[in-house]
């Protein structure tokens, strides 16, 4: 199968996809050079009031949230014993691994001295910082994800023994993954709990960590559905019968679960609103935007999921997944950019520069390319013939 794929690639080297990817990569490399010669000031619109831009909002916050599919899927399969989702685990783990790897990669652009990224863990530990917690968890979780991903690699490389050793640790790895994810997903929200005066009260809440964690579950599962849909077309030939047979079942099951979790998310957001008595803000412009987020990107997809599951309407579920993913992006942007520094005059607010967007696209493009590289070579969407029924 591998051989076939490679020849197919060679035939169509100048596909629109490849051309766009190439353009983004070249532009990204140019900006990279600018970043590391001219400093952050040369390529970003960041300033003294707005120290975090889209590299944090999109690449870090959204990246981590959307990579939550890894722990949700593996937990569902290995801990809750929902074996029918087994075929969805590997793509989800791979997406998560690439997602986190790219988060770390993107951080090299954003932090001032990227080679010091290990400092918080190995040199001087700022244990009171939520960022320390995030950093430690991301570091550990990236390792866990890598180990979880290795069986596919070892199967591809034909290293049976080591593959079997790793597979034995699946349960421990999965539990580890859930713990670490719980911690850093919620801590990303808690990052902002230190700045109640800077974040608009509608988005600031002592429950921020809970909001981030619960919404990451929605994001992860929706991303599994959404990403499955995206990869379905170009990767169809790589998918084996088991994957395809189970795919609709997975979508229905995940759709149902996501609908329920979104409902819960909506409920706790409502509680947060009541807890801080922020009702009066709802009539302001900020309130309108908050309602758009809550109704358009939480309540609506929850309902669409429910309808889709009841009617076994797979396309509707896929749309709902897309909407949820967009909603999580909107939420992370709201917390970290839109409602952050809300009191500043518009002239002092941040808007990303082209080069910042370029780097974000660059990172995404690398992710897509790596995903394609790996899925076309390793047993991700299909089971390795040697390990049939191995679960």
């Amino acid at each position: 199968m591998t051989v076939e794929t490679v020849t197919a690639e060679r035939k169509s080297l100048f596909t629109p996809f490849n051309i766009i990817a190439a353009v983004i990569l070249v532009a990204g490399l140019v900006v990279t050079v600018m970043r590391f010669t001219g400093g952050l000031g040369a390529v970003t619109n960041l300033d003294q009031n707005n120290p975090w831009g889209i590299w944090i909002s999109f690449d870090l916050l959204c990246g981590v949230a959307l990579a939550a599919g890894g722990y949700t899927t593996s937990a569902a399969c290995y801990i809750f014993g929902l074996k029918k989702y087994h075929s969805g685990v590997r793509p989800a783990i791979l997406t998560a691994f690439l997602g986190y790897a790219l988060v770390v990669f993107a951080l090299h652009y954003d932090v001032g001295r990227p080679w010091r990224l290990p400092y918080p863990i190995f040199v001087q530990q700022g244990t009171t910082s939520l960022l320390f917690e995030v950093g430690l968890c991301v570091f550990l979780y990236l390792t866990v994800l890598f180990v979880e991903f290795t069986p596919a690699m070892f199967e591809w490389l034909g290293m049976k023994k080591i593959r079997n050793i790793v597979v034995k640790g699946t349960l421990a790895l999965t539990i580890m993954g859930v713990i670490l994810s719980t911690l850093h997903q919620s801590s990303l929200g808690a990052l902002f709990s230190i700045a109640p005066s800077k974040l608009h009260p509608l988005w600031y809440s002592p429950y921020l960590p809970v909001f981030f964690f619960v919404s990451s579950i929605c994001a992860g599962m929706s991303m599994v559905i959404f990403e499955g849909t995206l990869s379905h077309k170009p990767m169809h030939r790589l998918m084996d019968k088991e994957y395809l047979d189970n795919h609709d079942g997975l979508i229905l099951g995940f759709g149902k679960a996501t609908s329920l979790v979104l409902f819960g998310y909506f409920a706790i957001k409502l509680i947060g609103l009541a807890y801080d008595n922020n009702w009066h803000y709802l009539t302001t412009g900020w309130g309108a935007w908050y309602m758009v987020e809550m109704l358009g990107f939480v309540a609506l997809p929850s309902f669409l999921y429910a309808v889709g599951v009841r009617d076994r309407n797979i396309p509707l579920i896929k749309w709902a997944a897309g909407l949820t993913v967009l909603g999580i992006v909107v939420n992370r942007f709201n917390v970290s950019l839109v409602a952050f520094n809300y009191f500043l005059p518009s002239s002092q607010r941040y808007f990303p520069s082209w080069s910042e967007i370029t780097i974000s696209l660059f990172v995404v493009a690398i992710g897509v390319l790596a995903f394609r590289f790996i899925t076309t070579r390793m047993p991700i969407f299909h089971e390795h013939p040697d390990y049939k029924d191995a679960h």
Binding site: Q125, G126, T127, T128, L136, A172, M176, I179
Partner: protein, 43 residues
Amino acid sequence: MEFYTLQDYYTFTKGVVYLIMGGILVGATLYWRFLMGGNNKDD
């Protein structure tokens, strides 16, 4: 040990707690194996 800021106090206590957390993860794995590894066919 005397602390003059909450910050220093937390740095110390959190440091200890982080070490304990590492211990818990290792300990939980070992204990799980001990618990599940018995001869109880009843499971």
